[in-house]
Symmetry: D2
Subunit: 380 residues, 4 copies
């Protein structure tokens, strides 16, 4: 793209359409771009969505997208929605961008991040490589290749904005932990004795690679729990809860879970994800036994959440169970807190678009914070 | 139908097809039918499916299906899958059948049942009219028109087979309670201190009447919790739990919940249903804190369930989370019990087809028991 | 909204969020808005999407949205995705906008348009009220209340750009005709002897009002043809074809169909729409027998289409059958022309998002043209 | 299975359930089984469905199901719906059955059929290996390994019943050709000058192997044409049309297409299949220009179809566009013929379940004919 404009206009328009009027001409003047961005691994769901978001970003220019498989081929050939004339490059040719997004499998991201950081590039990693402390990572994923980088700044923007602002390496949170931790953070004052997260995710969370479990005839009209007791987002949620409740640094051992000041032991935590027949979205219904009593009233609970998230662009407190449609295609998290007085419990329902607030959208949000841009730029 | 055969053959065949061979001729001989059945309210989902099942039943003849809206019109005109030449009749013309299924809204069923019982017809009611004791019914539904009939025999076949066998009036269970109570019954020996039922249901559970919430564009690609804290299956589950755990008569007050001998107070119970974008099926993930300790091992828990349901045709114990597809279109309930040692909890996942085991299939199962027929006849 | 910015920022941001940085402040300076817009009938699919598009438009301010049902209530209460603090107004209170979009049923739109035009408001009507000449309208819809306004300028932007630019009243095309006429227009030089349009539409095309035919359980896993031989888009397509092929004024009688200069009689036209289980999108496979021979080669046909649409932002010529995903949520029409030499036919496949290019998106495109704005503003 | 009953009862029941009553006991008496059946390739969609159908067949016993991948493992472990205690065997161990179904890829089936036929086993092949004459097969699939077997008896039961009855080798038709040829056969008296088949298929038609094009996120909310001009069912349809119209032997060269006595040249034929987001079902809308005139009236056309299929169990003539739901899970084909007088055309809409009438169901139907059993046995 040779356009002076940062918000990259559709190709045809940029090519001086036959029918174009004066008003179609690119606005002359200063380049509004404050930074250039690159994507490592642009052919998967998160990479492609990042490219779509960055192509529409008013202040950041998408300079390069790598794909080892498709290097040298036009992006639009493989991703018709990307109305850009960029071609995929090789990862080695990504150099020179101000900020890089890593959309590679865990394990692959760490060495790439190491090299980019050494070259002075800010890194936002969408894999799991920088979300955990070394001991926990090693337990769940195997030995970490670059433990000296652990833990990265945990990029759950609303809870870690100040750290993200100054970071060179941000660990973009997992989709399930994002929805869960935003839902639970306001409850820290009660302490969390017992937490159950019943999560339902669309299929894009399982990635683009074809598998028996993602075949249309397997998913459609079906619903199945998976990873019961063994899903790798469990330790991330546990660590996040520890961070939320203990106000300790993120990434500390789950043994500190739920240690609200003087509130006693860590919460028991159960996390059961389910695959549901839809493409995008996560809905979590979370059942909480507080450590301290009595339960708040419904009114007090609503007020607590509204106050906690006052001024936040991308977190909404709802007074009824939210639908995935309310947030689909957006960076919003929508949360409904509910007092179940009969059972002595708080129920919180939290929904996000797993590819937006749960991945690429939050990554752009973090980039905006890192670059000092308005946090909502390029996002809906 | 004038066919002597009870398993009603497809219309065209019965009409002596031009191409029929000798082998197509109905088998001469004794009428295999032992009873005739009628359906009140045949145009909704459960009524239509009952008709489809009964048309294929080898020992029971579908004699009449009523629909006040369509009385006098051929069934197949409105329900093309019903390859029968029956016409809808008015409810008043249902008389003379041995057993009647009521597929009417709650409140409407009770007076119809009263009249049919007085006429000597066995009744299986698929509404909520006979599932609760009078006090609980009045609290959740308004005043019951025929409290003298309460409670009916609760037709959760596997748990109440003997009572069903001798009953004239069976209250066919709700879909959510069926999946929940079959999942929880084997745990009664532990006592149930705390029970959370996170249920996901297909859209047919919401009925056939078009509503904003059942519009395709509302349901597709979406997922939403509803009836949080107020769903009418809550008291039915609570009463069933009391029955399961206390071995007391079904329908007693929820205050006796979970009173396993010497186990202390009733369990706290939370039930949150969710609407998912599929037509048929209920999946419930149930989180249980037992009243007594220690937790069983995974092996002991599996053995407990297998023993509890040994010999049952329609309950399967699975060693992995079951899929809705495993039971779709069938009368099976498939249950996966799991020990979550980390959190000190038992997780049970239970799936059924809400229209089959959760409604029409279980109704036929109950009919078979009431008539002394093989329990699986006419069912898959 | 009191924001000086035309591109209305998310509510929370506009309310000076607690965490806002300097960069979040609305940019001071000249008001970029060149016009204000209103929507009549904002609670249906097209109205809600128009509101969503206009809230993000950089140069036009959404000033009012009417809904007789919800007048006085906050839009976001009924449409959570509309992150605006506008409340629905009554249609009578819409006054003072520069341009109004009518999203009302046919028949209702005409008198509203009459009044708005008299008040000097430009009108873009999304109903069928101004798409046909009076005789054809009367035949298919009944007597037109304001025949003096017929026909409006037919707002198929790419084919009628100049007329739209100068129009006060634009008839926004129907969804099926949009996809069909864009696909067929480049073939005018051959003449069109015989045209068959096999169209598949998502359910949003049937509107938001719940009906038996739009119930999830009716649509899901199903596919059905409807309106065979009687769909009201037939005369619109026929008139459009006449316009395309004869270069005569749009809206003339179908009897002039296909009259390419010297090419003989009108084409025979068959249009069969099908309802498919998805929310948004129309795909049409169109079978054409040209009036003149020989058939072009595949290469010549591709070149013809590429040349015809050179410079157009929103029409793409594809070299393989396009997917709905390529255009979902966008204003693009994607067209694949194919020579079926074996059968002596041209097959053209055309896809659009029925709510975008087929309704609200094209309406914004037309507004941009009417206001002299860049044609793609506020659209993706 | 040691059950004397041919209709294999559910496992638990067969194992003498603890709660079983007298009525549950298998009926003593003569073995109703008249034949034993085997399936080669039981792990795909058609093989698994065949197993499900045969397990419920009243007169044929499923004796063996082979799967090279899963040989030795219980079927139910991989196919939970198959409530049988059979284990997969190797193909070499299939011997001794009376009839074998081949559910293998084309090319693999022919040598297996050769061997089974030599061993005196009747063969029903669900691949394409025996549907075409040698020349056509070689052109579309490559050289046939056993041309001496070509062509097999084409098992479109309603049109070839007598040949099927006496056959040892039946070529079970493809799904698209089944729906098309049943729809077109009654029109033979007019001759077919021009035929366009716009077909929409569910995803199961693409097979169980995971591919990018069958990923849930690729298929859901999408619709795409494929194989335009190159689908391998084209020559099968063309050959079938020749057979239908010329009354010549099936499998003759397409050059004879449409040669109704004295009707002139072969029809031009276009076939465009589309993938739609549903699992099972094919709907074809077929546009026909007859060779002879005038067009029949709508009443005459209906009468023609009803007469043509009078007495057929599995073909229904409908007076409105049929829905996939009308036939889903059944062996029925439902056909709506329509006169489009305005365009001088006949439009026929035909729906089947692609896995039932389009594959496994019709295979059972053919088996019944071959064995002299009632044609509908074991089918719905």
């Amino acid at each position: 793209m040779t356009s002076a404009s940062c918000m990259q206009v559709p190709i045809a328009t940029a090519q001086a359409p036959a029918h174009a009027t004066e008003a179609d001409a690119p606005v002359a003047g200063a380049d509004p771009c404050v930074a250039s961005a690159g994507i490592v691994g642009g052919s998967g769901y998160t990479g492609a969505l990042l490219a779509e978001l960055l192509l529409g970003h008013p202040s950041v220019k998408l300079a390069a997208v790598s794909s080892e498989t498709f290097a040298g081929e036009p992006m639009q050939q493989h991703l018709p929605r990307l109305r850009s004339d960029l071609a995929f490059c090789s990862q080695a040719d990504l150099g020179g961008v101000d900020v890089a997004f890593l959309c590679t499998p865990h394990g692959d991201a760490a060495p790439i991040a190491r090299k980019l950081l050494d070259d002075g590039v800010k890194v936002i990693d969408l894999s799991a490589d920088f979300r955990l402390d070394a001991a926990t990572y090693n337990e769940w994923y195997g030995e970490h290749p670059h433990p000296e980088l652990l833990p990265g700044v945990y990029g759950l923007t609303e809870l870690h904005r100040d750290e993200v602002a100054g970071a060179d390496l941000v660990a973009n949170p997992g989709c399930y932990p994002t929805a869960a931790l935003l839902a639970l953070a306001p409850l820290k004052q009660f302490g969390l004795a017992d937490v159950i997260i019943d999560a339902k995710s669309g299929v894009s969370g399982a990635g683009k690679s074809p598998k028996a479990t993602t075949h249309f005839c397997s998913v459609d009209s079906d619903l199945v729990a998976y990873g019961v007791g063994s899903h790798r987002h469990y330790p991330e949620i546990a660590a996040g809860l520890a961070s939320v409740t203990a106000k300790g640094g993120y990434g500390s051992a789950p043994s500190a879970l739920g240690a609200a000041p003087g509130a006693g032991p860590a919460p028991s935590l159960t996390f059961v994800p389910h695959l549901v027949p839809l493409q995008r979205g996560i809905s979590e219904t979370i059942y909480v036994k507080p450590a301290t009593w009595p339960l708040p009233t419904q009114g007090d609970l609503m007020a607590l959440y509204e106050q906690f998230y006052a001024g936040e662009t991308f977190v909404e407190v709802a007074d009824a169970p939210p639908a995935l449609k309310d947030v689909a295609g957006t960076n919003y998290c929508r949360i409904f807190p509910h007092v179940d007085a009969r059972a002595g419990r708080i129920v919180v329902i939290s929904v996000i678009d797993n590819l937006m607030k749960g991945a690429s959208g939050q990554a752009v949000q973090n980039m905006n914070v890192m670059l000092g841009l308005p946090e909502h730029e390029g996002l809906v």
